[in-house]
């Protein structure tokens, strides 16, 4: 469990990036921080591995204040994946993945064998092991970044817009991959993104941030959609428009679901919904014809 206790951060140049932020991030769950640019997401994330130290307040991991832990040691136990993968350009894929284990003193052979296995885990062909990062596609680099983050089998994985720089198709693929991985590995993941769709897909708990790291609302995706705390959240999650606002329309004999722009979203399946007149879903009961 990670806990922020009324944390504030003022940078030396006077920017107040985070103001009195408190939050519990439960273990083995994915917490997603969403918010517009400059809302302090990265700053919050970096306070967890002490890349940034809070000006006031404290961050605890499993009840221990991390300010008392040596940063280097702390970081070696926390996976970190960033937007531009941050791979070392002069080391091969395999050596990049093995970086942290080697730093922790794992014997070279062992580290490389583990790293190879880790390539499988993140869905990378072992044939890429001896390439340099510049010889990989963006999506492949990102996978290597994830593999490196996971290489020491950390309990905590921090991800700062890890899929922000890849094209939408590859991004969708990587997101699915992460969902699968998380089912398997059960880490405590802290994930930063701009993209509310991504947040809904990956998050168990979603934190919507305003300027200065102020929390607009915390909750599960369903919470946020069903009970947005205010207009800001409603508009952020899109609960007030577009694809998320659906209603049922009668279409001939069946009922279809349509979004607020009038675009067809799908059909209603199963029992007729209370309130809609005698309709049945398009899957249709055998008797539908006879009803006429």
């Amino acid at each position: 469990m990670i806990e922020f206790r009324s944390v504030s951060k003022r940078f030396p140049d006077g920017t107040l990036a985070v103001q009195d932020f408190s939050l519990v991030l439960p273990s083995h769950k994915t917490t997603v921080l969403v918010g517009s640019s400059g809302s302090g997401k990265t700053t919050l994330l970096r306070m967890i591995n002490r890349m940034v130290d809070p000006t006031s307040g404290s961050v605890e991991i499993d009840g221990e204040d991390i300010a008392s832990l040596p940063p280097v040691k702390l970081r070696r136990g926390i996976g970190y994946v960033m937007q531009n993968s941050g791979l070392l350009p002069h080391r091969t894929v395999l050596d990049n993945v093995a970086t942290v284990p080697l730093l922790r003193g794992t014997p070279k052979r062992q580290a490389r064998a583990d790293a190879l296995a880790m390539l499988d885990t993140v869905g990378l062909d072992r044939a890429l092991a001896d390439r340099y990062p510049s010889q990989l596609s963006g999506g492949q680099q990102q996978r290597v970044g994830v593999a490196r983050g996971l290489a020491v089998n950390p309990n905590i994985l921090l991800m700062d817009e890890p899929f922000g720089a890849v094209d939408p198709i590859v991004r969708a693929e990587l997101q699915q991959e992460l969902v699968r991985l998380q089912k398997e590995l059960d880490k405590t993941v802290v994930f930063v993104t701009h993209d509310i769709e991504e947040a809904f897909l990956l998050g168990d708990q979603i934190v919507i941030l305003r300027e200065g790291g102020r929390i607009a609302q915390v909750g599960s995706p369903a919470d946020l959609l069903a009970r947005p705390a205010d207009d800001f959240v409603a508009s952020f999650v899109g609960a007030d428009r577009g694809r998320r606002v659906l209603h049922v329309e009668r279409h001939g004999d069946g009922n279809v679901v349509v979004d607020s722009d009038g675009r067809l979203a799908g059909v209603l399946n199963g029992e007729p919904v209370a309130g809609t007149s005698a309709g049945s879903s398009a899957g249709s009961t055998p008797g539908a014809e006879g009803d006429r």
């Binding site: 940078f11 030396p12 970096r46 002490r50 890349m51 940034v52 130290d53 040596p70 940063p71 280097v72």
Partner: protein, 225 residues
């Protein structure tokens, strides 16, 4: 100090000699390097040959070059022309690479949109590519100007008069003040040329004036480890 006051006339005369020796190389090298750099960029082969040649030329020490030139071009050993030509060659050697790099630095999109608007290759070079590589060229010319002013002094050891003569004369006669005066005057002259170039850049490239200092694209803060 007394030496300086007593010899202001001499210092002034040597300063004029110095200007006469250093201005032509600075101007000529620019005039030659621009087309040469353009040509170097034009073809793969010419790029390799010209830039390699420039690199080698730049590696040649100045004093030996001044000694070798008379044998190549038939001037007399003590002629100031040797110094001027040698320094022009260095200027070209440096600037050719700078011009090529500067032209490279012009955004391909800008280049293409200029063509799309109807610039001919010729007018595009003069009106788009050259001005846009201006800041890079200016940086190169500043290096050329400062090194040329400094290098002119070398000619003094073979008797070509310049502020460098204050070094050789001061050394032979053991007058420290004379050497120091020469040093100060040379550095001052170099700064003057440099300042003039910066000023010229401001006038000729007004669009570079209002550039906000770039903010670091990735704000990083790191706690002490």
């Amino acid at each position: 100090m007394t030496w300086v006051l007593a010899n202001l006339g001499l210092i002034w005369a040597r300063t004029l000699d110095h200007v006469v020796l250093s201005l032509p190389p600075i101007v000529i090298c620019f005039v030659i390097a621009v087309p040469l750099g353009w040509f170097a960029r034009r073809y793969r082969v010419s790029r390799g040959i010209i830039l390699t040649g420039a690199g080698l030329l730049y590696a040649v020490p100045s004093l030996p070059l001044i000694f070798v030139l008379p044998a190549v071009i038939g001037t007399s050993l003590l002629s100031p022309v040797n110094v001027i030509i040698a320094l022009t060659l260095y200027g070209i050697a440096l600037m050719v690479r700078v011009v090529a790099d500067g032209l490279d630095s012009v955004d391909a999109d800008v280049r293409q949109s200029a063509s799309a608007m109807g610039y001919s290759t010729w007018s595009r070079f003069w009106q788009v590519e050259l001005p846009l590589s201006g800041p890079v060229l200016l940086a190169g010319m500043r290096v050329v100007a400062v090194s040329t002013v400094s290098l002119v002094t070398v000619g003094a050891v073979i008797g070509v008069q310049s502020l460098g003569s204050l070094f050789t004369d001061g050394f032979q006669r053991g007058i420290q003040a004379e050497i120091i005066a020469g040093l100060v005057a040379t550095v001052a002259l170099a700064l003057l040329f440099d300042g003039a170039l910066v000023l010229a850049g401001r006038v000729l490239m007004p669009w570079t004036r209002r550039v906000a200092p770039p903010k670091p694209s990735v704000p990083l803060e790191v706690s002490a480890a």
